[in-house]
């Protein structure tokens, strides 16, 4: 299996851990990632509301470049994923628009014929790679780890994608397969505030507070996310939240590829875990435990018993 890799701006700057851990995980699973040559910024979510044609052209340029290989395009950042997916959808539905954008692309010698599939690594891991293959490579089962799976709002919305819009379970099932407990987390698709942290801080802090509080109330050891913006929002402003709400909340925020990487036996350095603000002691213990010498059997019955309770 091979995929074209589109890191996007944030994975190459502030959120390098996501890039590192994503690449490390797929390497461990023997899947080749070819970084898209000469990619450009996707325009991020907001540009589309400002200038549709320009933003679609910028995004379509990446798709045109990606079309050169026959592989699917993997976009780990949720915003990039949404922008590229939306671009695909708009161009597929509106022929006029497609012609328009293509004429713009032609001026730089490119053309886009709508054949690229934009995928999120979570979707690829669960649906393409599959649990069996991952299970074969597990070295540290995550037994006893309590995880709050935070999907954010962009990877399952607005249109129906690879999971349910109100109650997605892909990540929950992935970590349950690794014998972790996915805790009750009703705010799993509630917005983290996104850019409004900059423009309307009060609103964003309230949203962040609710997510952090729910995770802690349900005894989660850490929150896993799929989006660099969510990760930053939830991680970087915990002090501000505490100050505003007079609370004492503290919880580590990891990328799902980092936690998966630990389970696959990749060391912390390669996963960029040292770049996280808050380290989960429990996860560190698990990563330091001796690696499995036999093939991992799958989640224990203990897990079922823990869940039934």
């Amino acid at each position: 299996m091979e995929y074209t890799y589109y890191p996007g701006c944030s994975l190459h700057s502030v959120n390098k851990q996501y890039d590192k851990s994503c690449k490390a995980v797929f390497e461990k699973l023997d899947i080749k990632l070819n970084e898209l040559e000469d990619w450009n910024c996707c325009g991020a979510t907001f540009y589309m509301s400002v200038d549709e044609i320009t933003s679609l052209s910028i995004a379509a340029r990446n798709l045109a470049l990606a079309e050169k290989s026959k592989n699917d395009l993997m976009a780990p950042c949720s915003s990039c994923f949404t922008v590229l997916s939306k671009t695909n959808r708009f161009l597929r539905r509106h022929e006029e628009l497609h012609k328009n954008i293509n004429s713009i692309l032609q001026s730089i010698g490119l053309e886009y014929n709508l054949s690229v599939r934009v995928r999120h690594p979570l979707d690829i891991l669960v649906n393409d790679v599959g649990f069996e293959l991952i299970r074969m490579k597990v070295k540290h089962p995550l037994t006893g780890l309590r995880i709050a799976n935070y999907y954010g709002c962009q990877i399952v919305r607005p249109e129906k994608g690879f999971d349910d819009r109100e109650n997605p379970v892909t990540m929950d099932k992935l970590f349950e397969m690794l014998d972790a407990d996915s805790v009750y987390f009703p705010v799993k698709v509630k917005c983290c505030g996104a850019m409004s942290m900059i423009t309307a801080e009060d609103v964003a802090l309230k949203l962040i507070y609710e997510i952090l509080n729910t995770a802690i109330e349900n005894d989660a050891d850490l929150i896993v996310t799929t989006c660099p913006l969510c990760q930053m929002n939830l991680e970087a402003y915990q002090d501000k939240v505490n100050k505003k709400f007079q609370t004492n909340l503290r919880i580590p925020i990891y990328y799902f590829t980092q936690v998966l990487g630990v389970a696959l036996g990749i060391d912390d350095e390669k996963l960029g875990i040292n770049n996280n603000f808050y380290i989960s002691e429990k996860l560190r213990e698990i990563s330091r435990a001796p690696m499995l010498t036999t093939i991992y059997d799958g989640p224990t019955d203990e897990l079922k018993r823990r869940q039934i309770k």
């Binding site: 109100e166 109650n167 009750y184 009703p186 109330e217 349900n218 019955d301 079922k304 018993r305 039934i308």
Partner: protein
């Protein structure tokens, strides 16, 4: 038809201005007058009015019209009116044609010019057509005055009572075990707050008392044929297992050991297998919930009720368990020790973790009985019969046959060649597996019953078949077993020290001294080889080796036995076989063996052992025990010259596999003599079957319809199933460790012949019995039968299919609730203390799970309750319609909560629908009681922990009246689920051939003017089957449907429109294409004439056959080709 005689009158309606506004009706009337056949052409403002009608009648009478065309609104509106009008004037009603110039012309066009031209074409078409029409006579069908009502809720009950009141007969069919429907579950009803049971039960009791209402509960309609006035309906009455004698005393439920969740209480409370759904059930008798029979009972060759005694052991009722076992099994103590337990292999618990240790439980029960009661008394014998039966052989087959026949009262004599009784049980199985003292106790019981045993009597020597018949024995059961050991057929076998396994064991069991070597070889891999090996160890052999020619996987001995042997020091060598016995001075000294390898499978399915060339080797042995299988010794049978019994190619006796009769009618056979060396329980099963066969034979009954069980039924199992319909699936059930079977220490036990198994303790037995899943719910422990004084329980009842003839059918199958777990934002099924409306009704009801108290799961009283309206109703994603009753019952809940608790109540609504009599006043009342009503759709319900660690629910919603987002903390949430058509609606619709509207409810003929009838004549609908409604509306609709039914019965016969198909027999080629195509199954094929025939009453005139007939042999009356072509001509002329 002679054109000159046609006189057509054309009448064009203005329809007020509906038509004349767009169509110039005068011009049309003028234009069509040109047709020579048109005698008069008029217009009028309202043709359908009285003067309009009279106009036509006058013209018919005065001008001698014989055809009429009316150009007006759709025929659906007034065709009937105009037809009746023609008839009144003396003209055949089918000589009329309607041209629809309203719905199909004036209402859909704007351009007057074009509309007028179109109207002219339409009228012209009608004129040309009507000229070709001929008079038709409607058919008459008689109406059977009996009525069938499907569904026994309040609608069905009301309709039944109304019809019965008139003196007519009603069949009321209900699929549950009681009538009452959903209403029986309610506590109070709105707006009067009457108790539901108080207003419903008197009606239910009336139904049961009326002689002309035949109540069929636990019944379902299986097939419906026929047409209005003449329906033939097949109804399946499922077995109740309790007959009418039941006085409803309830003693049976007190002793039933099985509990399952009660569907009537919506699974909030348990009930026993024998139960009544609720105290006021009608019929007021109990019912036994028996689903697919447990595999342990079904696989047992003697049909021992394993699940039954396991359930009793679990409850600590050991004496009852032992009695249950003993009732069916004279060798219960023996089986508890040595049976090969096919029940355990079949046990469904094996799909969860490990099968139950059923044999150990049986042993425990019998041991307990021995210790506490002494020997069980034998069961009672029915009346004595003066008929003698001989049983030859006292092995397990013979003993069970003797037991069963003796119970039936026959005079039974068992002949046994040895001095000890028991066959292989006595002379084959070693003492450490089956203490002979225990076997003798069972035999003593049989002697007590009156079975006569004659020992030291050898068949063929001491008695023959001739002597038996001379002595007056009327039937013989031959069960002499397979006691002859098979020889290896290798050189040296006749040396001293070589002995067969069976002979070796027999000598030990009979106490005959024999030679025991120091190094003993046992050849073979079955239980006999293991028995011989372990016996040799106990008798002092230093080294005992089993030599088996295949590998461990193919070894036929049971794994437990193999392990026991190895624990005691027996050595087992695989893939080796002897080729020569080597001796000195006539005694064994060595064995020459050869290595084997596994080749292709043989006829038994096991891989064939093939000698490995040049692999011989020699081992020192001073005794060789040959245990490679046995065969029956049939030499004794040859002594009977008058009776030649057929022998199979395997050396066994041939019998009919069902009846167990040999080729001689009065001689039956079973056990190892027929099967070859098999198992004890299989032999017992054959003995039981033979007893039933012999009983039938001696009563001159045909040898068919057996009740006994042999061979045991094949069980089809699939992992996705559950043990019964209220249980979780096997993969979801929690795993529990199987009990460990205690045995004596091997290092000690190998020196004596005392029993190796110790047996379970009381605690261990109850623990193991608790793992039983109660497959099929009722476990046939028969405790209920014991306590039922009127003797109303019959576990052998079978389903009955009855056929009834009725004239009309009312469908009142009610509703089910929308499954709220589909709206996962509301947490139903995931979070605690969230209930749907029927569940909450049960909580409110004093016969429900909390006795009428409103409590949380943890037993505390709720401080605040939220009621959410429109769950699954008024929802684009689920049901678009409004369920009509939820606002009112939500208010009812609010009031009752306020009445019984001090909780705060919040109601989340979209609109408050309080439209009925007394409803608005009820709304004001609850507002005054301080119920908080919040107008806004609820987004989600989540769980939160509050400061002291307890969990509460939070309802997130918008309050549109104050324009704010709110989070309301509550302890309990009640959902108002949408009312959906009941689950059988689709199936029933197909059976009856009635349609449903897009929302799934049955379709009425007209939503305003006729909500009771369906487009199918003779079938009516009432209650929630037609659409959601409250109780007053349901009762009204039910009475309305009853009125319709009675009016037709009163008429006595009905007219059927003759617009039907007719087959011209001369043209019909008999291809039968029409037979298959007819959607109403109305076409039959007449074999003698080889033509098809249309049943007048069933044909609905759809025209499919007319179009399909390749020979053009079918005409649609009133729609002939000629008529249709003329109509088309008329359209195209203008």
């Amino acid at each position: 038809m002679n054109n000159d005689s046609i006189k057509i009158g054309v009448y064009i309606c203005h329809c007020g201005v509906n038509i004349s506004q767009t169509v110039d009706v005068e011009r049309v009337a003028e234009r069509v007058k040109r047709n020579p056949l048109v005698v008069v052409s008029r217009t009028y403002k309202f043709m359908c009015s009285d003067p309009g009608q009279e106009l036509i009648r006058k013209d018919i009478q005065e001008l001698g019209l014989n055809r009429v065309v009316v150009a007006a609104c759709s025929p659906q509106m007034h065709e009937l009116t105009f037809r009746n009008n023609c008839e009144r004037a003396g003209l055949n009603r089918y000589l009329l044609q309607i041209a629809n110039i309203r719905e199909q012309c004036s209402w859909v066009h704007d351009d007057i010019e074009l509309a007028t031209i179109k109207a002219t074409s339409l009228v012209n078409a009608a004129i040309k057509r009507v000229a070709k029409q001929i008079p038709l006579t409607p058919l008459k069908a008689k109406i059977n005055p009996d009525t069938l009502i499907i569904g026994g809720g309040i609608a069905g009950i009301q309709a039944a009572l109304d019809i019965a009141e008139s003196g007519r007969n009603v069949y009321l069919v209900e699929k549950e075990s009681t009538i009452g429907g959903q209403m029986a579950k309610f506590d109070k009803t709105f707006p009067t707050l009457d108790c539901a049971a108080c207003i419903l039960t008197p009606k239910m009791v009336s139904v049961s008392h009326r002689k002309n209402i035949k109540l069929l509960t636990l019944s379902e309609v299986e097939d419906v044929r026929g047409y209005i006035g003449n329906f033939k309906v097949k109804i399946r009455k499922k077995s109740r297992y309790v007959i009418e004698k039941c006085t409803s005393c309830g003693e049976c439920a007190k002793v039933c050991p099985v509990k399952v969740p009660n569907a009537f209480d919506h699974f909030l409370k348990d009930r026993t297998a024998i139960h009544k759904l609720f105290p006021q059930a009608i019929p007021n008798t109990y019912v036994i919930d028996k689903q697919e029979r447990p595999p342990c009972i079904e696989t047992c060759p003697i049909r021992q009720e394993a699940a039954g005694y396991i359930a009793l052991i679990r409850e600590g009722r050991f004496e009852a368990a032992a009695k249950l076992i003993r009732n069916r099994n004279p060798l219960a103590i023996v089986c508890g020790r040595i049976c090969y337990h096919p029940c355990e292999t079949a046990c469904n618990r094996g799909f969860v973790d490990k099968p139950l240790a059923i044999q150990q439980l049986k042993r425990f029960a019998m041991d307990w009985a021995l210790k506490n009661n002494g020997i069980n008394e034998p069961p009672e014998i029915s009346e004595e019969k003066d008929i003698k039966v001989a049983i030859i052989g006292s092995g397990p087959a013979g003993l069970v046959c003797a037991f069963d026949l003796r119970l039936k009262g026959y005079k039974v004599t068992v002949f046994e060649q040895h001095s000890v009784i028991g066959g292989m049980l006595a002379v084959g199985i070693p003492e450490y597996r089956l203490p002979k003292s225990l076997l003798n106790m069972e035999i003593e019981m049989m002697k007590k019953m009156g079975v006569d045993f004659k020992v030291n009597s050898k068949f063929g020597e001491d008695f023959t078949i001739d002597t038996l018949t001379k002595d007056g024995y009327k039937a013989i059961f031959l069960a002499i077993g397979a006691h002859k050991g098979i020889k290896m057929d290798i050189p040296g076998e006749e040396l001293d020290g070589v002995i067969t396994g069976v002979e070796f064991l027999r000598k030990v069991n009979l106490g005959i001294k024999q030679y025991i070597g120091k190094h003993v070889a046992v050849i073979g891999g079955g239980n006999t080889a293991i028995d011989a090996a372990r016996t040799a160890i106990r008798l002092g052999a230093e080294k005992v080796s089993i030599l088996y020619r295949r590998s461990k996987m193919e070894m036929p001995a049971s794994p437990e036995e193999i392990k026991d042997a190895e624990d005691e020091g027996v050595l087992i060598s695989y893939l080796t076989a002897p080729v020569e016995v080597i001796g000195k001075n006539g005694k064994v000294t060595h064995l020459k063996c050869i290595r084997m390898q596994l080749g292709e499978p043989d006829s038994s399915g096991r891989r064939r052992p093939i000698p490995v060339p040049d692999s011989e080797y020699i081992v020192e042995f001073d005794q060789v025990i040959v245990a490679i299988s046995q065969t029956p010794d049939l030499s004794c049978i040859q002594h009977n010259s008058n009776y030649r019994l057929n022998i199979s190619k395997y050396g066994t006796l041939e019998v009919n596999s069902d009846t167990l009769q040999t080729n001689v009618p009065f001689i039956f056979a079973g056990g190892d003599v027929v099967l070859g060396p098999a198992t004890v329980i299989a032999a017992m099963g054959m003995g039981r079957r033979a007893a039933e066969s012999i009983d039938k034979y001696l009563n001159n009954e045909p040898l068919i319809n057996y009740k006994t069980h042999m061979p045991a039924r094949e069980i089809i199992r699939a992992e996705s199933f559950k043990p019964h319909s209220y249980a979780k699936t096997y993969s979801e059930i929690e795993k529990i460790e199987r009990v460990e079977i205690p045995k004596r220490d091997p290092s000690i036990r190998k020196f004596d012949f005392k029993e190796v198994d110790i047996g379970l303790s009381e605690k261990e037995a109850i623990y193991e019995a608790s793992r039983c899943l109660n497959c099929g719910v009722c476990v046939e422990c028969l405790e209920c039968v014991k306590v039922c004084e009127p003797g109303a329980i019959n576990h052998n009842m079978k389903d009955e299919v009855v056929e009834v003839d009725v004239g009309q059918i009312i469908v009142s199958t009610g509703y089910n609730l929308f499954d709220a777990s589909l709206l996962y934002q509301y947490g139903y099924g995931k979070l605690e203390n969230i209930y749907n409306s029927l569940e909450f009704e049960r909580i409110l009801n004093s016969t429900g799970p909390t006795g009428g108290k409103i409590l949380l799961k943890n037993g505390k009283e709720p401080r605040a309750i939220g009621i959410i309206h429109c769950v699954g109703s008024r929802d684009q994603n689920f049901n678009k319609y409004c369920s009509r009753v939820c606002c009112m019952y939500a208010m009812k809940f609010a009031h009752l909560i306020k009445d019984r608790t001090s909780a705060e109540v919040y109601q989340f609504y979209i609109d408050m629908r309080a439209y009925g009599k007394g409803y608005e006043e009820f709304y004001s009342r609850i507002l005054n009681e301080g119920v908080n009503v919040i107008r806004g759709k609820v987004a989600e319900v989540v769980q939160r922990e509050i400061t002291n660690g307890e969990s509460i629910l939070v309802i997130k919603c918008e309050d549109t009246l104050i324009g704010k987002y709110r989070e309301v903390p509550v302890d309990m949430v009640i959902l108002c689920n949408a009312i959906e058509p009941s689950t059988d609606t689709a199936k029933l619709g197909r059976l009856l051939g009635i349609s449903r509207s897009p929302d799934g409810f049955f379709l009425e003929r007209h939503p305003k003017l006729d909500p009771f009838s369906t487009p199918n004549d003779g079938i009516y609908i009432a209650g929630c089957a037609q659409g959601p409604k409250d109780i007053p509306d349901t009762v009204a609709q039910a009475s309305g449907a009853a009125a319709k039914v009675l009016s037709l019965i009163s008429k006595g016969e009905i007219e059927i429109d003759p617009i039907i198909a007719k087959v011209n027999e001369e043209l019909c080629s008999g291809c039968r294409i029409c037979n298959i195509l007819c959607p109403y199954n109305a076409i039959e094929f007449i074999e003698e004439k080889k033509v098809s025939f249309v049943n007048d009453a069933l044909c609905k005139g759809c025209g499919t056959c007319v179009a399909a007939c390749p020979a053009g042999a079918i005409t649609g009356q009133g729609f002939t080709d000629e008529q249709i072509y003329s109509e088309i001509e008329g359209l195209l002329e203008i």
